[in-house]
């Protein structure tokens, strides 16, 4: 709105500063990059140490990092961006990158590739994952996959074999029935209710040759698919095989509320890089495995999803310095090996991945091997979701699933209603 005047003021301030420091030539060359990301102090420590390594290698470029919890991060970033005060280097999420890119809040990085930004041995699917409308807006900080978090102790107690990558939805029902019979820990279920889990629905659709969204931003499935999906879970729920509607609704997102941590179910649907975080919250040993197959030959549901990105603010005046930092972050073997590890996901640059693999903890190894050995489960990376899809992914799916679970809607009604509302949301402007 008033950015012209602001830029003018900033410009004059810079001129004044340059003039005042004329006798100190180094000052003019100094670049101070602001960096913002979500996460915990643990992630911050790793990031800040990497920043120090970068500054040591590039004297004159300083990086000031800030971090926030996920829920606080987005209002903070939106306010700063709207206020014309966006940080230069911004951690982005797979869902939000579309919103920020299509609204020109983050900058396309194509012009830096091959120069400041070295992507020569970067995984092609991770480059694709960072593209919106054909332009590169985010550099993947790690390849990730959806995964089932499995409480192996509970499975042993129930005398049920731990699910593996060939586990199907039929096996899921069988495991649930075996758990019901075994009746361990006050009626613990084998599985959480997955009907409101957007990645699980996507995975199920992809195995059936459909998708959540098409490349041109439309819904990639129809009411029949949706009905079948809600019915699948409704039958399991009605037979008392998965957690009740009451219990499932306790989960509003954070890890500590998931059914596996609450002890209500032995399996929760999440992401491969979260195994360590889950494990910190429970005494039972956990492992990860793939989402169920729709049948013995069901395949291609998974994909290597960028866990998160670094993006560069459109407002940044130091975009090429920022690109240089991004390049260092993803390519520097020493920084990745000694400080970054796989905390943000499995590195997408092959040389870095090979260098750090032997240094990982056993649990990190589990995640690395899981993502590396998905085999025929692995499919192509889907096109980025259309604008407004966030409301479907985080709100509508969950709400519809709860309406079915609490008996307010039959699966037969929920399917068409869901597709209708989703179509309305996608066609909404502004």
């Amino acid at each position: 709105m008033r950015s012209n005047r602001r830029q003018f003021l900033l410009g004059s301030a810079a001129v004044l500063a340059a003039g005042a420091s004329g006798f100190r030539p180094a000052f003019a060359a100094d670049a101070n990059l602001r960096q913002i990301f979500w996460g915990s102090q643990e992630r911050a420590n790793r990031t800040y140490k990497t920043n120090d390594l970068f500054t040591a290698a590039n004297p004159g470029t300083k990086i000031t990092g800030e971090f926030y919890a996920w829920n606080d991060y987005w209002p903070k970033l939106a306010t700063e961006t709207a206020g014309g005060n966006a940080p230069d280097i911004i951690q982005m999420d797979y869902r939000y990158i579309v919103e920020y890119a299509t609204r020109q809040a983050i900058a396309p990085l194509d012009e830096f590739v091959g120069k400041e930004l070295d992507l020569h041995d970067f995984d092609q699917d991770q480059i694709e994952g960072g593209k919106v409308n054909g332009k590169l807006y985010g550099i993947s900080l790690g390849a990730n996959s959806v995964a089932s978090i499995v409480n192996t102790a509970a499975f042993k107690e129930a005398g049920v074999p731990v699910p593996d990558n060939n586990f199907t939805y039929d096996d899921l029902r069988a495991a649930c029935e075996a758990f019901k019979k075994a009746n361990i820990r006050g009626g613990m279920k084998a599985f959480q209710d997955g009907s409101g889990v957007e990645p699980l629905l996507e995975n199920w659709l992809r195995q059936r040759g459909k998708a959540l969204y098409t490349a041109d931003g439309k819904l990639g499935f129809d009411a029949k698919d949706a009905t079948e999906w809600f019915k699948l879970w409704n039958d399991l729920r009605n037979d008392g095989l998965i957690v009740s509607a009451d219990d499932q609704a306790l989960d509003t997102g954070p890890l500590d509320q998931t059914m596996v941590i609450q002890g209500k179910a032995a399996v929760t649907f999440a992401n491969s890089n979260q195994l360590v975080a889950f494990q910190a919250l429970t005494k039972d040993p956990l492992t990860i495995t793939a989402f169920p197959r729709v049948g013995k030959d069901g395949k291609g549901g998974h994909y290597r999803k960028p866990s998160m990105f670094w993006s560069v603010a459109q407002q940044s005046k130091l975009q090429s310095d920022a690109a240089k930092y991004l390049s260092f972050f993803i390519n520097d073997v020493n920084a990745n090996k000694t400080v970054l590890g796989v905390e943000r996901g499995i590195p997408a640059a092959a040389s870095v991945r090979n260098a750090i693999a032997p240094t990982l903890s056993p649990q990190d190894q589990v995640a690395l091997h899981f993502v590396a050995n998905l085999g025929d489960l692995l499919g192509p990376i889907p096109p980025p979701p259309p604008s407004n899809a966030g409301e479907i992914d985080i709100d509508l799916i969950l709400k519809t699933s709860q309406q079915v679970a609490f008996g307010q809607q039959s699966p037969e009604d929920a399917g068409p209603a869901f597709v209708q509302q989703a179509t309305d949301i996608l066609s909404r402007k502004g």
Binding site: R2, R6, W38, G39, S40, Q41, E42, R43, A44, N45, Y48, E66, F67, Y68, A69, W70, N71, D72, P75, K76, T79, E80, A82, G83, G84, N85, G253, P254, L255, D256, Q257, I261, Q262, G263, Q274, V276, A277, A280, L281, T282, K283, E343
Partner: protein, 292 residues
């Protein structure tokens, strides 16, 4: 007549209540107290127990006790909690002073003075209470950014000196109007200026409501996280409440034990503040009392 000559209400001491009634009242209060204290006990238990137990057990008694979470929490962020406590106390105290001074001036005008447009301004003042802050946040951010105040305490403190908290103005107006008007009139006949009436009559007689406003300002400021979240960038400037929110990221590994340990510690200053200043609610009035 001077201000000393005013009736000072005293707590109505119950005379001759039977011991049985007294026991019953205490029993009721103690039961209610447990319901009030339960969260604190639970938080303390969560801080003392092993982290893996926090979410999987409903028992309040930890299986084992360790104070380690307090040490871990205190230094759990890159800046120690000592800094956060200092920041919170500085901001809260500055806000208390600002609110008491600015809101009492404003409230005095609305409660006691006659001027053109009073009802209009009063309605506008109340109106500012009604707009959700979520939509004024960004314009306000731009304003403070243009002033160069981002990443300082100024956006959190300066508004209090400009009486932007309508809640406190309205509160004081209601109480000022309960103070007998003869006092002002008598003082005016004695030749007091309007400011002297405000300063020498109103304020001393308003200790309960000023105390209330002070306690609330302190606690509301202490508990606020959205303002600090938006305006503070450097962690060295964080308040306790904002720092606590940095402890737990719902998407990655977090130290819940440390969070609850620091949450308990964060309660102590505001609890003590309340405990200490609530005396003024009661005793402040009775100190210089003379019966009418």
């Amino acid at each position: 007549m001077t201000s000393e000559a005013i009736a000072r209400p005293r707590p109505p001491r119950s005379k001759g209540r039977s011991p049985v009634a007294s026991v019953i009242i205490h029993a009721l209060l103690i039961i209610a107290s447990i319901a009030m204290l339960y969260p604190l006990l639970w938080m303390l238990a969560a801080a003392l127990r092993p982290q893996q137990e926090i979410f999987s057990t409903t028992s309040i008694i930890p299986s084992s006790i360790s104070f380690e979470a307090f040490g871990r929490g205190w230094n759990g962020l890159q800046v120690s909690f000592g800094t956060f406590f200092t920041n919170s106390i500085i901001i809260s105290v500055l806000c208390v002073i600002g609110n008491l001074a600015a809101c009492s001036l404003t409230a005095f005008a609305f409660a006691r003075l006659k001027f053109w447009g009073k009802n209009f301004w009063f309605a506008l003042m109340l109106g500012t209470l009604m707009l959700p802050y979520q939509v004024t946040l960004i314009p306000q951010y731009v304003l403070f950014k243009d002033l160069g105040w981002v990443n300082t305490f100024l956006p959190l403190v300066v508004p209090k000196y400009l009486a932007v908290d309508s809640f406190f103005i309205f509160l004081m107006v209601q109480f000022f109007r309960g103070i007998p008007r003869e006092l002002d009139e008598a003082a005016m006949i004695d030749g007091c200026s309007t400011f002297q009436i405000y300063y020498k009559i109103m304020l001393p007689l308003s200790v309960p409501v000023l105390t209330t406003a002070g306690i609330f300002t302190f606690i509301f400021t202490w508990d606020d996280f959205f303002g600090p979240l938006i305006y503070l960038n450097d962690m060295k400037n964080y308040t306790v409440t904002l720092a606590l929110r940095s402890f737990v990221d719902s998407t990655s590994q977090s130290d819940y034990g440390g969070l609850f340990a620091m949450s308990v510690l964060a309660l102590i200053p505001i609890f003590l503040f309340f405990l200490f200043f609530q005396r003024l609610l009661i005793e402040g009035i009775a100190t210089t009392g003379m019966k009418r």
